[in-house]
Amino acid sequence: MQSLSPATLLVLVPLLPLAGAVLTLLLGRLLGSRAHLPAIAGIAAAAAVAVTLLLGTSNQVGSAHGPHAEPVRPVEMITTLWQWASVQDAYVPPEGSAAALPGTAVSSAGGAARAFTIPVALRLDPLTATLLAIITCIGLVVAVYSVGYMHHDPGYPRFFAVFSLFVFSMSMLVAASNFLVVYVFWEAVGACSYLLIGFWFTKPEAARAAKKAFLVNRVGDFGLAIATFLLWMTYGTLDFHDTLSPDGTILPGILGQTRLADAGGIVGGAVGTAICLCLLLAACGKSAQLPLHVWLPDAMEGPTPASALIHAATMVTAGIYLVARSAPLFMACPDALAAVSIVGATTALVAGLIATVQNDLKRVLAYSTISQLGYMFASLGTGTLLGFTAAIFHLVTHAFFKALLFLGAGSVMHSMGGVIDMRRFGGLRRIMPITAATFLVGSLALAGVAPFSGFFSKDEILATLHAKGWPNAHGEHHDAAPASHASLPLPLGEGRGEGAPATRLASLTRSPVAASAAVLDTPETFRVLFWMSLVTAGLTAFYTFRAVFMTFTGPTRVPEEAGHHAHESPPVMALPLIILAVPSAIAGWWLFNSQWLAHFLTATPSFSAPAVTATAVPHAFHMDLAIQGTLAAAIGIVIAAIGHLGRRSDGPQMERFLGPLQTFFANRCYIDQLYAGLIVRPLEGLALVAALFDRFVIDGLVNGVARLPAALGGVVRRLQTGLLQRYALAGVMGVLAIVFVLAWRLRG
């Protein structure tokens, strides 16, 4: 494989699963129970290639260790497959706008008109390489698991075809280097998600859930579309990367190095904020944040491996990817950043609250996913390099342990004969030891217990939130910021007031481009968000271990649907669990200590923008935050144990304890009902009106037109009386008419 160029390898990563999907579609019926082979072969090959690319890119970036490591240069490789669209002279950028070519001569072709081109270009940079590796590797593990889980399903080939198709779409999404191509694959993953949620489409709940997911995602896609239009209008291009025009001038891409190096390259203000908020809307739709989170719990109607891959590890992370990729855009609009954080932290808290009262194991995990994604958004919204890298770090660890937890839940569901209501079974650790052990590992990681992976990533998120909330607290830990840009004398939050270096951290956390005072981006906001996140950490631990105790501890109870299924999963399902448990346990610790991921990610062009690197802080382990986090988690676990450990595992503890609040959370804060009343019912009414209009007015018109000749005929038919003299009279009158006309003509 070394003989293949990186460009070819990059193209292979999405191409191999696509080939697998096509082969499965064509040969699925023929292969029968071996229909998984093309898909798994494709994904496995893609995983190997992705890992190779990851290692190769990592080599390029260089080592992180040592305090004297040279500053990281951005690494990116673009390969253009073909020109999808090209319209000459489509756009004339206004004078002095960001779309005008900065610092270079106007194109000598006469006028400053630019062509509208959409190249299907793929890019390889650290962010993409990381995500490609995650997608393909976890995809492979889940695919192997599905061989056992979907074994007797009649739609076996269809599952693997759509699964492969999804891996292809997701790979293309993270590898695309053009906003329009991203949009295409954004929709494609949505479509694959629809197909997988509604896999058992004969079940009305599944069909409804798939429809709901698609429609809610559509709202987000609308945001992405508007953002694309605004980006085109503002920047005159949709490419991420810089492109070379035929006459030698560089056309800067939106996130290209030429633009990022220029202080005024990114547009802020109202337009910039609008773009960022639209991107946030898109991310909310895909990553199930408030208020567009309603589809994810219902999406649990799909097969559990689909939930594991799509709704835990990969598709829902597309929103995180989009915001992370657009980091420079967000850095120019501090209010948008703060909005991201607020949305994320609020979602985390609300989802956590709802998860505490769910009795369906998969629903607990679904809300847990929403909550953890909220964490990632909160981290992204801090607008610091640490925030961005911490979000991606959490994304990686979350992918491992959430996939593990979902596969474990699938294992439980499989052996319980399709029952997933935790109140109906208990004490399963005796029946399914491997599942229980791996599930426990995943739960510890999710709860953020040291030294499991979730602890480290959550700690970093809390650290960045804390740093934004109390800007002076960590002042002594940071070096002097590079003074390459003007720092504005801005009012600081009340902090500790100790003697700080001349360059305050506050000025470092603000984008040098924003000239207006930010409304939301204040330390007070981030203090509130920090406390919310801390409480959410406690809640996470609580509901996770509530689920663990209810399922695996206590007296062994098996529902009658289980029949003779109540045993440990077959090796094809148990092995992936073990495989995923390993990184869930140790990946966090290893990545944190070696700082490999953080250092690696700083080579991403988006994160190597001066605006972002200005916020860099040296790596440190914040003991106080670690203690706070662990304390919160411990409290949560203890309360869960009090409520549900052992003999009390099946009792209605939450109902007794919370009373009416339990009903409120169990009904998902009535958000679904709100949507149903505000949006769904009026739309159904409108659809009814349209249907009635179609049936009575339009069909009536058409039928009326059809009935017209018959009616006319009916009128004329009355003339055919069969009476001879009436016919003669008619004839005579006709003749007289003719004669009259002739006589009239001839008079005079």
């Binding site: 003299q725 009436r726 009279l729 005579v732 007289l736 004669v739 009259f740 006589a743 008079r747």
Partner: protein, 266 residues
């Protein structure tokens, strides 16, 4: 009525006469229940119409001519109107016979003596007698219900009025514009080789009066020989056809009666 309106144009007079005739016909036609008033009114209007037509006609040379023509024309027209108006079909046939007499008189006035007599002989003598025979066979006693009603009397009267109006107006315009009609040509120049013994110039006022039958016969068998022969064949065909239909019709009737087995159409 005749001289009261000196400004009456011929056209208007004719239109008035036609309208009156139409209305009178409508009133007189059998329309269900017997209505004395309608009858009388119709008769009066009919008289008015006739007066109008007379007024719209041209004056002939002498009073005697005028009187004779008027008499026979009135007989023909009034009898004709009575034919179609009378309820009883027998009376209708009798009125028709009278109308034939009138028409024969008109033909005589026009100088077609042979045709006048032929009309009487053929029509009144043969055709009318046939009609009466059929009536005798088929007419029920008293007035049948279908004799007492008419089919669309109003529309038919209007149609007749329109037709008559058009025709009379055309006739009026025709004879008013004398130049449109060529002077009567010499009979000899048009008839061709008919009778070489016929003198070349017309005699008196009536060029067709002399040797009329002979000359008519010569014309028929001379110029129109083929048509005469065809007419003869037509008569033969009619004869055979009538007999054939009768005999076949009777056979079919027998069949019908056998099939109906008691229920008949009668």
């Amino acid at each position: 009525m005749n001289g009261s309106l000196p400004a009456l144009t011929p056209g208007l007079l004719l239109a008035g006469a036609v309208t009156a005739a139409a209305v009178s016909l409508w009133l007189l036609l059998p329309r269900g229940a017997e209505n004395r008033l309608a009858r009388w009114l119709g008769l009066v209007l009919g008289a008015v119409a006739l007066a109008g037509f007379i007024a719209a006609g041209r004056r002939l040379g002498s009073l005697g001519e005028e009187a004779v023509f008027l008499t026979v024309a009135l007989v023909a027209v009034v009898s004709g109107a009575a034919t179609i108006v009378t309820r009883s079909p027998v009376y209708s046939a009798i009125w028709f016979a009278l109308s034939l007499a009138g028409v024969a008189g008109v033909l005589l006035v026009l100088g077609a003596q042979f045709l006048g007599v032929a009309t009487i002989v053929v029509y009144a003598g043969a055709i009318l007698v046939m009609f009466l025979f059929v009536l005798m066979l088929a007419q029920p006693s008293g007035l049948a219900p279908y004799d007492r009603v008419s089919n669309e009397p109003l529309l038919s009267a209007v149609a007749g009025a329109v037709l008559l109006g058009l025709l009379s107006l055309s006739i009026g315009r025709l004879s008013a514009d004398a130049s449109c009609c060529a002077a009567p040509t010499r009979a000899a120049a048009v008839t061709g080789p008919a009778q070489p013994s016929v003198p070349a110039e017309p005699v008196g006022d009536d060029p067709l009066a002399v040797d009329q039958v002979a000359r008519l016969g010569g014309e028929l068998f001379g110029r129109h020989l083929l048509a005469v022969e065809v007419a003869g064949v037509l008569l033969l065909a009619a004869l055979i056809g009538a007999i054939a239909v009768v005999t076949r019709g009777e056979a079919a009737l027998e069949q019908d009666r056998r099939l109906a087995a008691g229920g008949g159409n009668r």
